[in-house]
């Protein structure tokens, strides 16, 4: 007779494996699942979401949306941005002081443009490498840690990311030079 674990206990065991636990904290995992839920909530097929992105002037393939929703790690932040915009959604990064985990939710709402900038500055000032539009989960986690230390709550919206795009590289250079 084998083990008599419940689903909950089985998932607890699987999710305690370090690589799995790490993956579950990543931006790709949290955003991917959140985007899938949001798309289904809106009753959109992947093809319809592709059309929405195109209607906004962007380009994306159904395969990329599928990769995103499967939490594959080679999807750029700028691609998430296009999809979030098409879903008319924002990403909320919540400072969860009790569990100290990064919570990412796709919710309708308004964000603050400044918060993206301050988060990225914090990461750079701490010596993290921040490449334009390829924020790694490590960087995002660092950003969260910064937020956690200052006990603040920040929101990152697709709109704020887009508006930030123009000054992004310039600001990175300035920050790098001032270090």
């Amino acid at each position: 007779m084998g083990q008599r674990m419940s689903h909950r206990d089985l998932m607890k065991k699987i999710r305690s494996v370090p690589a799995v636990a790490e993956n579950r904290k990543s931006m790709h995992f949290k955003l991917g699942i959140a985007i899938l839920k949001k798309r289904l909530e809106l009753n959109l097929t992947q093809e319809e979401l592709v059309e929405r992105v195109k209607a906004n002037g962007g380009t994306i393939t159904q395969a990329t949306i599928s990769k995103m929703e499967s939490a594959e790690t080679d999807v750029k932040l700028s691609t998430f941005e296009k999809v979030l915009e098409a879903l008319e959604a924002t990403v909320e990064v919540v400072d969860n002081t009790t569990s100290a985990t990064l919570e990412v939710e796709v919710t309708p709402g308004n964000g603050k443009k400044e918060s993206v900038r301050s988060l990225i500055k914090s990461a750079i000032n701490a010596g993290k490498e921040v490449m334009p539009y390829s924020l790694s989960s490590e960087v995002l986690r660092h950003m969260f840690e910064e937020m956690h230390q200052s006990s603040t709550s920040e929101k990152v919206t697709s709109g704020s990311l887009k508006s930030y795009k123009g000054n992004y590289e310039k600001e990175l250079k300035e920050l790098e030079m001032s270090r």
Binding site: Q3, R15, L36, S66, S70
Partner: protein, 160 residues
């Protein structure tokens, strides 16, 4: 909407899927390929926990191979042709054998959309045609009929 996931006893009285996944978790502690596969399995189970079995139009997914090669079409949930209402859930990582994790299940949905998913068998499929997989399908069918027989119901389905 609530999603409940259960594991059925096989003819030996074992929860084969639980034993199989638990064994994979043990291997993943020592082997990077197993941990990569387990990450993908966890993603699939998370999706099932969060949204249940997607409607048939929303079941197509793609993935990237371990060398980041061209995207491969994968369905996280797929109907088992010729064996309705059985379905399989899938996760791929080629570093482990042929890299095709498959778990067979069926599910019930009530009027409010609440789902109960019953897993029957799980394995790593070695080839497109796999005798072990065919056997798992046969066992799963029997487990499903036994389940409904004990429950006093009959097996019906619309689109699987």
């Amino acid at each position: 909407m609530t999603i409940t996931i259960e594991y059925l006893e096989d003819p030996n009285g074992d929860l084969q899927v639980v034993d199989f996944l638990s064994d994979l978790a043990d291997k993943a502690l020592k082997d990077d390929d197993y941990s990569n596969l387990l990450k993908r399995i966890d993603t699939v189970f998370t999706i099932l926990e969060e949204i249940g079995v997607p409607e048939i139009d929303n079941r197509t997914h793609f993935a990237t191979g371990h060398k980041n090669q061209t995207i491969t079409l994968v369905d996280i949930v797929k109907e088992l042709r010729d064996h309705p209402p059985l379905l399989e859930t899938r996760a791929n990582w080629r570093g482990v054998g042929d890299g095709a994790f498959r778990a067979i299940f069926f599910y019930e949905k009530d009027r409010d959309g609440n789902q109960t998913i019953y897993f029957t068998q799980a394995l790593l499929k070695e080839d497109t045609y796999s005798p072990a997989f065919e056997q798992a399908v046969q066992i799963s069918e029997q487990m499903m009929y036994d389940f409904y027989s004990k429950k006093g119901g009959t097996v019906t389905w619309d689109n699987a």
